[in-house]
């Protein structure tokens, strides 16, 4: 009752605001603090990725993440599409339909879905003179657009052409491209249609 009594009446002078005792913090709390701090550091060290911006759970370190990357050097249609759209689409159109007086169509063209060895040679060395594509004769010149591409990228873009827009033909591998590149042995002269026909 005392607090109630004190709080009434003469509060102006006597009001006693609360006080806190000076009893110390129990030692076991500090002990627990150190144990938990140790655990926290251990846990953070183990799975925290050490502040690296690329390391996300469940990967624990950059080194581990790097070991989990997919094998490179393969070909991929996504990559092929990118290469196609930057290198080829300007003339052959994004849908492979070609452009009048610029470049023949690629969709449904026998040259594209046919012999890989012929197809690989066209971007590597270029093509000139009359050529029949889907029953129409074109007489233009194509520079060696693919000579500067890597084997992977050229294989990717050719595979893309052979699978996009209704085309269905087996993939072209970087090994095949490398073999043809070696066989060309630095040939700079564009092919003609007749020359290509001679290749199996």
């Amino acid at each position: 009752m005392s607090s109630g009594m004190r709080a009434t009446g003469t509060r102006d002078t006597v009001v006693a605001e609360p006080k806190a005792s000076r009893a110390p913090v129990p030692v076991w709390l500090f002990f627990l603090l150190f144990v938990l701090l140790f655990w926290a550091m251990y846990e953070f060290d183990r799975r925290g990725g050490w502040f690296h911006s690329q390391v996300y759970t469940p990967y624990r370190s950059l080194a581990e993440l790097q070991r989990y990357q997919p094998a490179t050097g393969g070909i991929s249609l996504e990559r092929g599409k990118v290469v196609y759209e930057t290198v080829c689409a300007l003339c052959h159109n994004t849908d492979g339909s070609g452009k009048p007086n610029q470049a023949p169509p690629l969709s449904g063209a026998d040259w594209v879905v046919g012999s890989p060895d012929r197809l690989i040679r066209i971007p590597l060395a270029g093509l000139t003179g009359p050529i029949e594509v889907k029953g129409q004769t074109w007489n233009l010149a194509m520079p060696a657009m693919g000579a500067a591409l890597s084997d992977d990228d050229l294989a990717a873009v050719l595979t893309y052409m052979r699978s996009a827009w209704g085309n269905q033909a087996e993939a072209i591998t970087p090994d095949q491209v490398a073999a043809v590149r070696a066989a060309l042995a630095g040939r700079m002269q564009p092919y003609t249609a007749a020359e290509l026909q001679a290749i199996p």
């Binding site: 009752m1 005392s2 607090s3 109630g4 004190r6 709080a7 009434t8 009446g9 509060r11 102006d12 009001v15 605001e17 609360p18 006080k19 806190a20 005792s21 000076r22 009893a23 110390p24 913090v25 129990p26 709390l29 627990l32 603090l33 938990l36 701090l37 655990w39 926290a40 846990e43 953070f44 799975r47 925290g48 990725g49 050490w50 502040f51 690296h52 911006s53 690329q54 390391v55 996300y56 759970t57 469940p58 990967y59 624990r60």
Partner: protein, 481 residues
């Protein structure tokens, strides 16, 4: 034992601190009680949609994704913050043996705050929510709230500076840190999510950081500050102890401030990992708070029932500890557990927000209000009834949700179970928990009734005194003439 404090203390004479705080706190607290009602009604509308998805589906402003944030923000910014700030100002004045600095600006600041909350709630309902949790209010509402905080915060600091009592009680540490921390987190979060938004996922990290700092750290500082004042005050004994309270303080601001980033957050591993270990470390603050309650009571928990404010305060500390350990269980649950995305997380944050913070605020309001008016609440029985409604309401809301969340998480981990069935499996729990929501709402009506009657009685007193004075003067004039 009879009630010691709130109903017997005040019978007229009030301290200068109380008198200076009177109108500022009337504005802050009665506005807060209004938003408490509005917020819990909006929340209840949201809850009913789990019973009947088609309920109130047509008006866009009553869709679940709007009423829920509107209700929660009305609760946080409408009820929790203004009443916390009001109680903070009163405590700083009382503990400093001084008066509230800038009482009149604080009255207007309080009005502006509640107007800002009104604008914010209307904004959220009309589709202007920012999308960041606990920061949903659109910029026009934030501007009003921030301007108002400037007044309230400066008043708090000035009140502290002009204190006559130089020795510091632990509560002052907690409250000063809170006064200082809120503008920091609120301005940082608002600027980086809304004014000059940072890029991509960094926005969400700032949002999570703000939420944790508001709900765990800020609520923790103010709520414990209030409880650590009320315990010794109402028990008429010393708080056990100063050092233990400072230990809690340090654990909260050293570790609590790093919590809150969920483990599935699309951010580099170190960020959620840091939150995980600090959540566990902040558990020391929970142990500390529990020890303080236990030792101050001298292990005699029946003492709590001597005063409704003590009952609220004791419940608040228990909720704080349980909610904290629920958080620790959440971060330590296995890698494939998604408890933090289940109803369990909702239960935990509701226990922290309502079971702890709102209950601590009720304790404060029920104690402080009679000090201001100089008379007890008109309907003292309703205070105890409010406690029982609130306590059972919280438990009925939190326990089913937590259990439902654990069931949900277990079902979710089984990919054979269709998601629709996972969702349906939680409905029973949700429905039980809405009974809890109804009980808490009923409690809010009791609080509102008491506050309304108390203001009425206070004003009537003033009128009566004024009339009597006037009559006496008239009589004296009559005699003189």
């Amino acid at each position: 034992m009879s009630s010691k404090s709130a109903f017997q203390t005040a019978t007229g004479d009030s301290l200068p601190a109380d008198i200076s705080c009177r109108w500022p706190l009337f504005v802050l607290l009665s506005g807060a009680v209004f938003w408490l009602l509005a917020g819990s009604i909006l929340t209840l509308i949201g809850t009913i949609k789990f019973h009947a998805p088609d309920f109130l589906a047509e008006p866009a402003w009553l869709t679940y994704g709007r009423v829920r944030p509107a209700g929660l923000n009305a609760m946080i910014y409408g009820f929790c913050l203004p009443s916390a700030l009001g109680l903070t100002l009163w405590l700083l004045a009382r503990l400093g043996r001084t008066t509230l600095a800038g009482a009149i600006p604080v009255v207007f600041g309080g009005l502006l705050w509640h107007l800002g909350v009104g604008a914010g709630v209307v904004g959220v309902l009309s589709g202007d929510a920012t999308g960041f949790e606990h920061l949903e209010f659109p910029s026009y509402a934030v501007a009003m709230i921030a301007a108002s905080y400037l007044v309230l915060g400066v008043a708090g600091v000035l009140t502290f500076r002009q204190r006559a009592e130089r020795g510091l009680f632990v509560t002052q540490w907690f409250l000063l840190a809170a006064i200082f921390w809120f503008p920091w987190i609120y301005s940082t979060a608002t600027i980086l999510t809304s004014v000059y938004p940072v890029r991509g996922m960094a926005q969400a990290v700032v949002g999570w950081w703000f939420s944790a700092n508001l709900i765990l750290v800020w609520f923790g500082l103010v709520g414990l500050g209030i409880v650590f004042y009320l315990l010794p005050r109402l028990l008429d004994r010393e708080l056990e102890s100063h050092y233990l309270a400072m230990f809690v303080f340090w654990m909260l601001i050293l570790f609590g401030t790093w919590t809150g980033i969920p483990k599935t957050a699309p951010v580099p591993a170190w960020i959620p990992m840091m939150s995980k270990v600090t959540t566990v470390l902040a558990g020391l603050a929970l142990l500390g708070a529990a020890l303080i309650l236990h030792r101050t009571l001298g292990a005699d928990y029946r003492l709590l029932s001597t005063d409704p404010s003590l009952m609220f305060a004791g419940f608040a500390v228990a909720s704080f500890v349980i909610a904290g350990f629920m958080g620790i269980a959440e971060v330590l649950s296995g890698a494939s557990s998604m408890l933090h995305l289940s109803w369990y997380a909702t239960a935990r944050s509701w226990l922290q927000l309502y079971g702890f913070f709102a209950m601590a605020l009720f304790a404060g309001i029920y104690y402080v209000w009679p000090q201001l008016t100089g008379r007890p609440f008109p309907l003292p029985r309703l205070v105890r009834l409010h406690f029982w409604l609130a306590a059972s309401g919280v438990m009925l809301a939190v326990i089913p949700l937590a259990v439902g969340g654990i069931v949900q998480d277990g079902n979710h981990a089984n990919p054979e179970m269709a998601f629709v069935d996972v969702a349906k499996g939680t409905l029973t729990f949700l429905r039980i928990s809405s009974i809890g929501d109804v009980l808490t709402l009923a409690g809010h009506f009791l609080l509102a009734l008491n506050v309304l009657l108390a203001i009425g009685a206070f004003c009537w007193d003033r009128v009566r005194i004024a009339l009597r004075t006037a009559t006496i003067e008239l009589q004296e004039q009559g005699v003189n003439s």
